[in-house]
Amino acid sequence: VKPRLRARLYINLQRWLKRINPTRLGISLVLLASLTLIAREYFSLRATLLADIAVQTSLIAENSTAALAFRDRDATSEILSALRVSSSIESAIIVDRQYTIQASHPRLQEPPSEATANPAGPAATFDPKGFFPEGIASDHEQRFSLTHLYLMRPIANKSRPLGFIFIKARLQPMYEQLAAFIGAAVLALPVFGALGASLLVVGRLRGQVSQARRELYRLAYVDTVTQLPNRNVFNQRLEGMLARMRRRQGRLALLFLDLDNFKFINDTFGHPVGDQLLLGVTRRLSGALRESDLLCRLGGDEFALILEDIDDQSAAAGTARRLLDTLEPPFLIEGREIYVSTSIGISLYPDDGADPEFLLKSADTAMYHAKEQGRNNFQFFSKELNSRTARRLELETGFRRALERGEFHLVYQPIFDLESQRTTGVETLLRWQSPNGPIAPDEFIPVAEESGMILPIAHWALRRACEQLRAWREAGLSDLEIAVNLSTRQFRDPHLVPQIAEIIAATGTPPQSLWLEITETTLMTDTAAALRKLHELRALGIRLAIDDFGTGYSSLSYLKKLPIAKLKIDRSFIADLPDDGDASAITEAILALARSLRLMTVAEGVETAEQMEFLTQRGCQAAQGYHIGMPVSADAIAALVLGELARTRKREAVRAMA
């Protein structure tokens, strides 16, 4: 029974608590507080009045002892008259031990002045029943009526009793004080109420503010997609962990993860899928980690992982391998199986450095190395990588200087028409002659691509090429065509088409003499936009060639839609000609394809007479390569072409004569 009773009591209490209206409760509390204060004030005032009157009475009793002893009524009255300044004391009477009135205040009825000379004279006596109806039990009496305070004190000299003093004090001044207090309290009530209400509001506001603050904190430190700590937290925690490792002389690994094909997935399936994938990846990665490991999302598809207190680099390698494995099974998102892998770069404290920024940069460098190694693997940072990084940095900072000081120049590789046996065009190639010697294009062009410096460099190169074409045309090489490479970055640049239009207009370049070479992979990303851009370029009259054809995965149907006029067969097929069956077959297929699409064909990297022979027999229209001509200067091209022209004219003249 008892527990049930308790439960019911609890439920009732809950109900009752629920019924409480906070505002009404607040007002009730304020009222209660006010009443308590008023009651307190009343009793305090009463006590003060009593103490006050008692002190005054005692003073008079003490002062009047001699006067009373000597029956000096004048002196006694004089002493009593000091009470006239008291606002509370209404009357005071001093009597001897027989209650004969010796003095009174105010002197309402002057007691008969029989004085000492007439001790037998009639004397008025005082009846204490008027003050204390219930009688007197001691010589210290006090009583509160509704309107008055009655007080009785003995008068004695050195414990010799002489008489008594009776005091009647009005309570009205006290009531006035109390009324003033209540008035103030009543006035203050709305103020308290308002204060209380505003406190409630402020409290609620404060709640909201702190919630907002928490939200801001969350936004500032937590990645919204994956709920992982973000870059801010990573930076802070890394510093803290490094400090701890320094103290403990421990080792720490920093893993930099970059998902391999995330951008492609995001572009193909859309951001919602991308976000879900990130979340799924986060879950799997977290599942493969220790409690003490810190995984953060640095942004995009980049994650950073800090492993504290590891013994050696094999522990970091073990974790990295686990992470790669955990991503191996496909993710099932919106009914699709999506495969994603990651490239991991690892740097170690203290092995690779102690500076948090450097460690992160090192892991980043190692991650790029992993990408270069074919993705879906991990790589440790190394001194060698470091020097590569330094080299990269050197290049990056060198580009601007190189542009300003004219360290870049173009060379031209002849494109030989196999049918007419003439050099009909050249491909422009960029060279960098730095003060420390030439820098290979294979080295600096990827760096320029990544840093974005490719844009001003390529812009310069295109203009230079067009200027050179005009110079050649003025020198009599009127049919020569020029081919310029467009990099992926450049092709995506929204200013590309207007810039080219501006250059060909400014240099007076006949657009049909200019070829732009674009790789298959460049065309394959964001195909709709690529197609639109190709049409814009074509509209300028410029002709387009697909560079390195055969290495990408262009579909035939896609190829048919492109406004291109030429395929350049990748050098990797040409190199194995003519003996390798596969290479021959592919080359023949490409040539057949081009024919059916009415595209011109150029073979790249032709290095032998046999290759040239093979290509000529299969109907390839043009070739370029060391067998035909190395990249050379503009003057050398002019000499070559003019030489060919002269020979041709001579042959024709001979033929005409014959």
């Binding site: 006067a67 002893a69 029956r71 000096d72 004085a115 000492t116 000379a117």
Partner: protein, 171 residues
């Protein structure tokens, strides 16, 4: 008024007896508001009042015998042969010229001399008692009191008809 001194406050029939009793009551009251620099030896000791008075006044004063003064008991001696040992001396109006000799004997002692006197206490007298109209009044000579090692309560002083020397006006 009659109740002032309980031992003698029963109804009196003649004025002379009454006024003598009032005078005796005054004397006893003076003692209540007086402190001695050198009190009598030992607790429960006696305080000797030498009364040089006759008639009803002598009787009234004699009736004070045995009454308490602080922690002492009052001992009333009427017309003692020598004033030696007297802490209080009462000189009625009619005792001159012996009074001067008594006062001279007591000049260096801690004693209180009360005299029925004129309004100004004569030399050697601390309190003079006199009739002021229909009232009994007293005057105090502080200089004499100080010489005899006596201090009067301010409450007594304020009841005195006059106090000598008059308080100096401070600038």
């Amino acid at each position: 008024l009659l109740a002032l001194i309980p031992s003698c406050c029963s109804g009196e029939s003649n004025d002379a007896a009454s006024i003598s009793e009032v005078k005796a009551a005054f004397v006893y009251n003076f003692l209540q508001f007086t402190s001695w620099r050198t009190p009598p030896d030992g607790p429960g000791g006696e305080m000797v009042l030498c009364a040089h008075a006759r008639g009803a006044l002598a009787d009234a004063l004699a009736s004070l015998d045995g009454k308490p003064v602080e922690e002492y008991r009052l001992r009333v001696k009427l017309w003692p042969e020598s004033p030696r040992g007297c802490r209080i001396v009462f000189l009625a109006a009619a005792v001159e010229p012996q009074g001067s000799l008594i006062l001279y004997t007591l000049r260096e002692t801690s004693s209180l001399a009360i005299a029925e006197d004129a309004q100004t206490p004569t030399d050697g007298v601390s309190i003079s008692l006199f009739e002021d109209g229909d009232r009994l009044a007293f005057a105090i000579n502080l200089e004499v009191a100080r010489k005899h090692g006596l201090t009067f309560s301010f409450k007594l002083l304020r009841l005195a008809k006059s106090v000598y020397p008059p308080p100096e006006d401070e600038p």
